[in-house]
C-alpha cells in the first residue's frame, strides 16, 4: 500500500473546535470593515480615486487567504499516544510534531480576548528545544484544561529533563 500522507492514520486524531472557523471569519470580517471605512474616508474626505481600488484589492486577497486558512483549520489535529503527543497541521506546507511527554518542560494555555469571546484557548507545549513546535489552537477551555492537566501529569511521570 502506498502511503501518501505524513500523518499517521492509525491514531485517533482529535480535531479543534469548529468555533475556530467563526473566530477566523470574525477577525477577517473586522479587518474588512476597517478596510471599508478607510476606503470610504479616502474616497469621500480626501477624494482619492485609488482608495477603493487598493481597498478592493486588499479585500480580495483577504478573502482568498481566508479560504485557505479555513481549509487549513480542518487540518489541525492532535493525538495523545501512550508516550508522546502528535500535532498535525498544514495544507500546503504540512507538518507533524512528535513530542514525547517526558521531554516537556512546561505547558502554556493562552486565551486572548477574541479567543475568549468565542470560548477558545490555545495549548502550547514547550521542550528544551526552541524548535519543537507543538501548538494547538482553537480548543474549548475545558478541553484545554484537561489536556494541560493530562500533559502535566504524564510529563511528570515520564520526566527526563535534558
Amino acid at each position: 500500500m502506498t502511503v501518501f500522507s505524513i500523518w499517521p492514520d492509525d491514531v485517533v486524531w482529535r480535531r479543534v473546535s469548529p468555533r475556530l472557523y467563526w473566530l477566523t471569519i470574525f477577525v477577517r470580517a473586522v479587518w474588512l470593515l476597517v478596510l471599508g471605512i478607510a476606503a470610504a474616508i479616502g474616497w469621500y474626505v480626501f477624494e482619492e480615486p485609488l482608495a477603493p481600488i487598493v481597498a478592493g484589492a486588499l479585500a480580495g486577497l483577504t478573502l482568498i487567504r481566508l479560504v485557505f486558512v479555513l481549509r487549513g483549520i480542518r487540518s489541525w489535529g492532535y493525538a495523545e499516544r501512550a508516550d508522546d503527543l502528535l500535532v498535525r497541521h498544514g495544507l500546503l506546507f504540512r507538518r507533524l510534531s512528535v513530542v514525547p511527554y517526558g521531554r516537556m518542560q512546561f505547558v502554556d494555555v493562552t486565551a486572548g480576548p477574541l479567543e475568549r469571546l468565542f470560548g477558545l484557548a490555545t495549548v502550547q507545549l514547550h521542550t528544551a528545544a526552541a524548535a519543537s513546535d507543538a501548538r494547538i489552537p482553537g480548543l474549548p477551555p475545558e478541553e484545554a484544561a484537561r489536556l494541560r492537566d493530562r500533559l502535566a501529569a504524564l510529563g511528570e511521570a515520564r520526566a527526563a529533563g535534558l
Partner: protein, 590 residues
C-alpha cells in the same frame, strides 16, 4: 583568602558571620534566588550524601584572587585607551592624551577594585553561590545538577601569574553564568573538581563509575573494544599532560592543525584583500594611510577564522575523566573545559572538500548553554582535525555506542533529484544503535549525530512540491538552540515511520539511561587489543591517510545492502538499515 570579608561585606547581608551554620543559613540570602531551591539543605550539615566536603557547613565566603582587579582592570584600560586614541590623539595632544589615559586607568582600577571587594563565592550544599554587584547586588545560586559544562580559562596575562578563570555553563542563561575571574590555578581546579564531584554524586545511583563508561543502554554491543582500548595504554606516557585519573583519547598534531587551517577557503580571500588596496593605491599614485588601514583590515577579516582556530585549538587534547570529557587547548590563552557525561546534545562530523586529500575530518559538539567564542555554528570543537580513525575514537568517546565506520547511510529515493540533483547522492540517514545520523553537504560533507537520549522532539515537514513527489523532511530537535538533525527528502512512508521510531527510541534510551551502566563496561576490557587506532596519541596523519579515504567514502556511498529500502516495510527502517543492530535499546533498557 577565606577571611570572613569584613570591610566590604559589612554592606552585605549574606553570611559574613563566618562559619557558624544555623544563624546565617536561615537568614543569609535575602535575594530570592539563593534561598528558595533547597533551604533545607543549607541548614543542617547540608551534605550528608556528598562524598568530598564532609564537614561542609555554610563555609565562609571566598574572595577572588587579589590580583584579579588589576588584571581585569587592565582589560578595560586597554579598551579605553583604544577608544581614546581612535579619535582623540591628534585633537588632544600628547599631554592631555596622557592625562585622559591616566584618568581612565584610575577609573578602571577603582571599578575593578570595587567589583573585587564585593564579589565572593562559596559552595552551599549542592550549589555554588556567587555574590556580586555593589548597587545592584546579585546572589546567584547554581545547583550542580544543572551544570552543562565547566571551563577553566587562562588568558595570557593571567597565565603569567598562575591565575585562571572558571566558567560555569547552565542552560538558559544569556551568557556564561558565574564567571569567576580570577582564582589561582589550584583553587580553580579544586573548585571544578568539587563541583563536578558533587554533580556526579548526585547523578543517579552510580557514583563510583570509574571511567565514565555509563553508556546509554544500547551501547553494549556497539562499543568496540578496539577504539576505546588502545588509548588506555597510551595514557601512561602522556601522564604529564593528562591527569592521573584521566584516559587520554587524543592529542591533535599541531602540524596537521596548521596545514588544515591553511586549507580553508578563507585564505582565497587573502589575495583579494591585499590586492584591492594596492591597485587602488597604484591608481591614485600614492599609498595613503587609508590604503594601509584597509589592507590590514581586509587581511585580518580574511584570515581571522583560521587563525583563531589555530591559536585556540593549538595542542588540542581530549581526555576522558571520571567527571566527563575533558578538553585542553590553546596557544596563548589556554582553556580546559569539562563536559559531564550525557551533556553532549549532538555531534557534527565534517569532511571539508580541501581536506579530503589528507583524509581529514573535524568534529564539533553541541552542549546546551555553551556559547563558544570561537564559533563554528555555535558548537564547540571536539576534534579540530584528524583522520577518520581518530574521529571514530573521539566520537565513540563523546557518544558512547556510536561507531563512525559502521554508519551506513540509507539513501533517499531517486525522485529527490528534483530537489537536490547533486546532493541526492549525499543525503540520507541512519538509525544507528545509539544515535540518529543524517548526512548532508556536497562540498563539505556533514554527518550529524544525535544520540537517542537527547532527542527533544521530532518533526516532519512537507512542502507542496514534496507532497507531489511523496517526499518529506524529518527534523530531530535537540536542546539549547542546537541545530536539528535533518533528514531531507525521505519517502513519505519512511519519514513517518522514522519520526515515530525516533520518538520511541528516544523514550527507550531515556528510560534505560540510569541503570544501564553494567553491560557497557566492555570497552575497558579491550585494552590489550590495540588495533590500528592505537596511533591516537602520536600519529601524524600519514599512517592512516590511505585508509581514511575509503572511510570518507564509506558513508558516502550507498551500500549495496541497503539499496532496497523501499521494499522494507515502513514500520522498520532501523533494523534493516544497519544490519540488525537497529533497535536494541528498546528492550534492553527495561
Amino acid at each position: 583568602m577565606s577571611e570572613p570579608t569584613p570591610p566590604p561585606s559589612g554592606a552585605q547581608p549574606p553570611p559574613p558571620a563566618g562559619a557558624q551554620s544555623p544563624p546565617p543559613a536561615g537568614a543569609p540570602v535575602p535575594p530570592p534566588a539563593g534561598a528558595q531551591p533547597r533551604p533545607a539543605a543549607t541548614q543542617p550539615a547540608p551534605t550528608p550524601p556528598a562524598p568530598g566536603p564532609a564537614g561542609a557547613e555554610t563555609e565562609p565566603r571566598r574572595r577572588l584572587h587579589p590580583l584579579s582587579p588589576l588584571l581585569r582592570g587592565l582589560r578595560y584600560l586597554l579598551l579605553a585607551i583604544a577608544a581614546i586614541s581612535w579619535q582623540g590623539f591628534r585633537s588632544l595632544g600628547p599631554e592631555r592624551w596622557a592625562m585622559a589615559v591616566a584618568a581612565a586607568a584610575v577609573l578602571a582600577l577603582v571599578a575593578s577594585l570595587v567589583s573585587y571587594l564585593v564579589t565572593g563565592y562559596h559552595v552551599v550544599g549542592r550549589e555554588l553561590r556567587v555574590y556580586e554587584g555593589l548597587f545592584f547586588r546579585r546572589t546567584r545560586a547554581i545547583p550542580v545538577e544543572r551544570l552543562q559544562s565547566v571551563e577553566l580559562v587562562q588568558p595570557v596575562l593571567a597565565r603569567l601569574f598562575g591565575l585562571a578563570e572558571l566558567r560555569l555553563e547552565v542552560v538558559g542563561g544569556a551568557q556564561t553564568e558565574a564567571p569567576l575571574a580570577y582564582l589561582t590555578r589550584e583553587e580553580a581546579t579544586a573548585l571544578r573538581r568539587r563541583l563536578l564531584d558533587l554533580a556526579a554524586a548526585g547523578r543517579a545511583a552510580a557514583p563510583a563509575v570509574p571511567s565514565g563508561v555509563t553508556a546509554p543502554g544500547p551501547a553494549d554491543q556497539a562499543v568496540r573494544p578496539a577504539p576505546a582500548g588502545a588509548p588506555v595504554g597510551a595514557a601512561a606516557p602522556a601522564a604529564d599532560v593528562a591527569g592521573p585519573s584521566e584516559r587520554l583519547v587524543h592529542i591533535v598534531n599541531n602540524r596537521d592543525l596548521f596545514i588544515s587551517q591553511l586549507l580553508r577557503p578563507q585564505w582565497w580571500l587573502l589575495p583579494v584583500a591585499v590586492a584591492v588596496p594596492i591597485i587602488d593605491a597604484l591608481m591614485d599614485g600614492q599609498l595613503g594611510f587609508f590604503g594601509i588601514a584597509s589592507t590590514v583590515t581586509g587581511v585580518i577579516g580574511a584570515i581571522s577564522a583560521p587563525v583563531r582556530v589555530l591559536l585556540g585549538d593549538w595542542r588540542f587534547t581530549l581526555a576522558q575523566a571520571a567527571d566527563g570529557l575533558r578538553i585542553r587547548r590553546g596557544l596563548l590563552e589556554t582553556r580546559s573545559s569539562t563536559v559531564p557525561e550525557g551533556r553532549i546534545q549532538s555531534v557534527l562530523v565534517e569532511w571539508p572538500l580541501l581536506w579530503r586529500a589528507y583524509g581529514w575530518v573535524r568534529a564539533n559538539m553541541h552542549v546546551a548553554g555553551v556559547r563558544v567564542e570561537q564559533q563554528q555554528q555555535g558548537r564547540s570543537s571536539l576534534l579540530p582535525v584528524g583522520t577518520v580513525d581518530v574521529a571514530q575514537e573521539v566520537v565513540a568517546t563523546a557518544l558512547p555506542g556510536v561507531v563512525l565506520r559502521d554508519i551506513v547511510i540509507r539513501p533517499v529515493p531517486d525522485r529527490a533529484k528534483w530537489f537536490a540533483p547533486l546532493r541526492r547522492r549525499v543525503l540520507g540517514y541512519q538509525l544507528g544503535p545509539a544515535a540518529f545520523a543524517s548526512r548532508d553537504g556536497l562540498l563539505t560533507r556533514r554527518l550529524m549525530l544525535v544520540p537517542y537520549g537527547r532527542i527533544q522532539s521530532v518533526r516532519i515537514r512537507q512542502g507542496p512540491l514534496q507532497r507531489r513527489l511523496r517526499l518529506a523532511t524529518v527534523y530531530v530537535d535537540v536542546a539549547g538552540g542546537g541545530q536539528p538533525g535533518v533528514a531531507h527528502h525521505l519517502d513519505v512512508a519512511e519519514a513517518r515511520a522514522l519520526a515515530l521510531a525516533l520518538a520511541e527510541y528516544s523514550r527507550a534510551a531515556r528510560r534505560s539511561t540510569a541503570p544501564a551502566t553494567s553491560p557497557s563496561a566492555g570497552p575497558v576490557d579491550g585494552a590489550p587489543e590495540s588495533g590500528p587506532p592505537a596511533s591516537g596519541a602520536a600519529e601524524s596523519g600519514t599512517a592512516a591517510t590511505g585508509a581514511s579515504e575509503p572511510a570518507t567514502r564509506e558513508p558516502a556511498t550507498p551500500e549495496p545492502g541497503v539499496s532496497a529500502p523501499h521494499a522494507s516495510g515502513p514500520g522498520a527502517p532501523g533494523p534493516d538499515a544497519d544490519g540488525g543492530s537497529g533497535r536494541p535499546e528498546a528492550p534492553a533498557g527495561s
